[in-house]
Subunit: 360 residues, 2 copies
């Protein structure tokens, strides 16, 4: 692995379809300057050690990568387009970065989500061939979140929903949030379940060792969230819901056999009030309702494994710009042992179909 | 998957090497009646919700599987041998089940570990062709733990060490525990890092949804522990340490690329006092110091993935008896797309070499 930063590799050329496919990156981050300012004001004392760790770092570190991230997140223009050109990315599906508005009080969160969505929609309108976006919401106001999903889809031209995992320690398997799923299913809007740092009730041994972030804590936290949706019955109540998960599904594909075995054993024994029988096995929900992207996981063995166990229609390309920006990673995925038609599915067609993106 | 219990499949015959290899199961559990009695006395009020969840269930549930587990754990004789015969397992490498003595006060823990080791050694002496064992220790008394490792190896004829992950919320990357590693390395005794339920500071959203146990929480907790050993410098200080991890490495093999990338980025940025530079990449420690077993993961895609990314010498068969006891699982692993020589490595030779077991 090239661990220099910024990347030194000669970038792959933007394909424009010349390779037989476009590259659509599906977990690409931005933030409004307003929201970053609010976060930085909270870093000192907000009662969420994961948030303080994450934005204390990206907001104030003087090291090269976090400074690049902080600056690049706030750009929805030429700098981003140049980075896409340099890495060979034709289109980004852009979403509000973690933790989004989910750490704010509900009224402020609703307003900041709307502002972020307006800004993102404007950028997409300026660059319709390069940018698409997802709708940010304040899950802690489920009714207004549902209304914002409708506004994002029908008025702003956005293509799904971004939820940065837990909201102040709460998870979406709680039925009080289900207006969000109702709206997303009715509008056929995929929900991208993006990582957050683990909540205070989970972060202890992770933060203590510096493992609370993207190295490990994100996966632990967001894998937990996805599994809660599955075992909590959300996908029985909303069988057409589409959930997108980065980092190759936060390892749930790796665990499919064990999830099925232990879920069946636990339900059969009646061990938990909160784990009632559901209609399908966990692995069956993964293959019916879940799509995974390769954000942060540009590694052929794991990508091919997920294609094998989930099916080729469920694995999509993502980069995770600007957190992960390495031209080599694009090339490694160009070099996957796949035909051009399979690569078109992986880099382009799955994303176009799932998010309803404009065709070429 | 057959989710009936007890297993209804026709069992595979014990091979006795007739298939070209013996089947050595390497993560097989027992408990002394004395320790179970102590645990059950603690279930009401011990300040560890994961312990209360785990042993409240196995100790008191009237459902069929937990009753089978509770009874089978306490047998080191005919019942276990019959189960091995029925499933086609030639040898078990047996260890004290989770959380072992690690929830007890240190003096009691030391005494109960010694008792468990004596009992296990006696059973192994009675059935030297069928049973081998690992040494239980009280990590919270590191000096006496080191002495017990020496006693287990040199006087009891045991073949390694079992540590059931965290000890009262503490992790072994803390240098105060390193007498244990010193002894294990000096005696060439592999340490089996077995799951525990997440500690109080981590279990919040897991327990709330019934995900604290083998379905997910075990992996989260023990994967965290292994990663702490790697990023905390333990394997620089003890480069010949051998760590064995069940459940195909608690998914760390799946994450190898991301662990390397994010570890390098985090260290480079100086983000955490507790994450100092180490000599190798996380993936390099996994390939040098870590062996993984298939306990609870009898699933060809994940097994073959781990063989691919770790190498065939690092993946060993395990069943996880009596928690997981299903004759079909043995047959599925007999049917892995491997030659007889490769299966001998997987089922037999890797275990014989790693644990120094008596040859055939």
């Amino acid at each position: 692995m090239d661990d220099t930063f910024p990347p030194t590799a000669v970038p792959a050329p933007r394909t424009g379809g010349g390779a037989g496919y476009l590259r659509i990156a599906t977990e690409e981050a931005f933030a409004t300057p307003e929201l970053i300012r609010i976060w930085l004001g909270m870093v000192g004392d907000y009662d969420d050690p994961g948030f303080r760790s994450l934005w204390g770092f990206y907001g104030t570190s003087t090291a090269e990568r976090p400074r690049f991230v902080l600056e690049s997140l706030q750009d929805l223009g030429e700098k981003r387009l140049a980075a896409m050109d340099a890495a060979g990315v034709d289109r980004q599906v852009i979403s509000l970065t973690s933790p989004g508005v989910q750490v704010l009080d509900a009224d402020l969160a609703v307003a900041q989500a709307a502002l972020a969505n307006d800004r993102l929609a404007e950028a997409c309108a300026r660059h319709p061939g390069r940018f698409s976006g997802l709708t940010a919401v304040a899950p802690h106001d489920p009714k207004r979140a549902a209304a914002e999903i409708e506004r994002g889809k029908n008025r702003l031209g956005l293509h799904g929903v971004i939820i940065n995992s837990h909201t102040r320690g709460e998870y979406l398997d709680d039925p009080k949030f289900w207006d969000i799923f109702e709206a997303a299913q009715a509008l056929d809007a995929p929900i991208y379940l993006h990582p957050n740092t683990p909540p205070k009730s989970m972060i202890g041994p992770l933060l203590e060792a510096g493992l609370d972030g993207a190295i490990w804590g994100f996966a632990v936290e967001t894998g937990t969230h996805l599994l809660r949706l599955i075992t909590g019955g959300v996908l029985d109540r909303f069988p057409r819901l589409k959930i997108v998960v980065g980092h190759l599904g936060e390892a749930l594909p790796f665990w499919m056999y064990r999830l099925d075995y232990m879920h069946a054993a636990t339900v059969r024994a009646g061990r938990y009030e909160r784990m009632k029988p559901v209609e399908l096995k966990p692995s069956e929900y993964l293959r019916r309702n879940v799509w995974v992207t390769t954000s942060g996981m540009p590694w052929a063995p794991a990508i091919m494994f997920c294609r094998e166990v989930l099916g080729p229609d469920r694995v999509l390309y993502a980069m995770d710009y600007p957190y992960e920006y390495l031209a080599d990673e694009v090339r490694w995925q160009d070099d996957l042992p796949l035909t051009v038609a399979e690569k078109k599915r992986f880099f382009q067609a799955n994303a176009e179909e799932l998010f309803g993106l404009p065709g070429t």
